[in-house]
């Protein structure tokens, strides 16, 4: 079986050699098709990488119940507990907020959520709603000055999650990338180039 296939191949090549011009174009075509396949498989690999990153992120969101399950600490207000560049893992459980917990919350009119510690909790008898006051460990005063004008308390719907885990330094990657976008483009470019030139 194999032998006969070999034979036919040989026969074909001899035919091509004799036919000249037509033979050349078929060779070019086959090379082109190889390049197309390679490019296609590289695109698929890249797609898988992007998709799996997205899958991991969305799965984390589902498990933790928090919109942004991982946050990077940007300010010094919680030192020495959290430093700039530390990563926090958030969890959003049904458990009510209690004093001492570190919560991440949104304030109207502010783009970036705040990570601070709860120092006061008042939980309603009838509805179970909570009024929460927060303060940064490193700050002298409580957060009423940071809240929206006239706002005295943080409520459940402001809270994005509570910090449950901690990883130091890793967040510097994102801080550097947001503050120096050129590094981000260089990195993405280098990665893209690496994917294109590297052959499996």
């Amino acid at each position: 079986m194999q032998r006969s296939w070999c034979n036919s191949k040989k026969k074909k090549s001899t035919i091509e050699r004799t036919m000249g011009l037509i033979g050349e174009t078929t060779v070019v075509d086959s090379i082109k098709s190889i390049q197309f396949r390679q490019a296609f498989s590289q695109a698929v690999t890249l797609g898988i990488i992007v998709a799996s990153a997205l899958i991991i992120w969305k799965t984390l969101t589902c498990i933790t119940g928090s919109q942004s399950p991982i946050v990077v600490v940007l300010s010094e207000s919680m030192e020495p507990a959290f430093q700039r560049g530390d990563i926090l893992f958030l969890h959003m459980s049904k458990d009510p907020i209690r004093v001492g917990e570190i919560v991440v919350f949104d304030v109207e009119g502010r783009d970036i959520p705040i990570v601070h510690r709860v120092i006061k909790v008042h939980e309603r008898q009838d509805t179970g709603e909570v009024d929460v006051l927060t303060k940064g460990d490193h700050n002298r005063d409580d957060d009423r000055g940071l809240y929206a004008p006239g706002q005295l308390w943080i409520q459940q719907h402001h809270i994005l999650g509570r910090a449950v885990g901690f990883l130091p330094y890793v967040g510097w990657v994102t801080i550097i990338m947001t503050e120096k976008p050129i590094i981000k483009y260089i990195l993405i470019g280098a990665l893209g180039l690496f994917v294109i030139i590297s052959k499996d």
Binding site: G100, I119, K120, V121, H122, E123
Partner: protein, 167 residues
């Protein structure tokens, strides 16, 4: 196949995996520690007790707090955040927690302490329910690891009460 890029990549992957594993293991090792902290709080004096212009009761008191939290420290402990909160129930609120004093303990040597202090944060109620109110003083602590999972616990001390009259 054995280019510089591939070797660098393999080395980096290995190093990061190893680092993540060590972080996870050191966080898990915290579970092996079974702490036995102790604490004692005494309210020495009610300095003043009044109703503010907003209609909320407010108290100022002097306390004596002593605690031994040395057993909380492990090799993966960065700091312990300790605070004393007054906890009580009112007709409107099923739970009120008001932090009165807090402190950061950076190392095991400082974890056995004794402090004489007035309340650092305002002891204010939501409303006017504090006259003759019985409350608990709870010493909470939040252990901040060098890496990994944070954990917290508390000691509840009950049997405190506020005076019936403003002063």
């Amino acid at each position: 196949m054995h280019s510089f890029g591939y070797r660098a990549n393999a080395l980096l992957t290995f190093a990061v995996t190893l680092l993540a594993l060590i972080c996870a293991m050191s966080s898990l090792s915290d579970n092996l520690n079974s702490p036995s902290p102790s604490s004692h709080v005494k309210v020495l004096n009610i300095n003043w007790f009044q109703k503010s212009t907003q209609g909320n009761d407010e108290v100022s008191m002097t306390m004596n707090i002593s605690a031994n939290l040395q057993s909380l420290f492990t090799w993966n402990t960065k700091q312990v955040f300790v605070f004393l909160a007054a906890e009580y129930e009112t007709p409107k609120n099923s739970l009120n927690q008001v932090s009165l004093w807090d402190g950061i303990i950076p190392s095991k040597e400082h974890a056995k302490f004794w402090i004489h202090t007035t309340n650092k944060y305002r002891f204010t109620d939501q409303g006017s329910n504090l006259q003759g109110k019985e409350f608990n003083l709870t010493l909470h602590w939040h252990v901040m690891p060098k890496t990994g999972k944070m954990f917290a616990d508390k000691i509840v001390m009950s049997g405190f009460s506020l005076p019936v009259e403003y002063r």
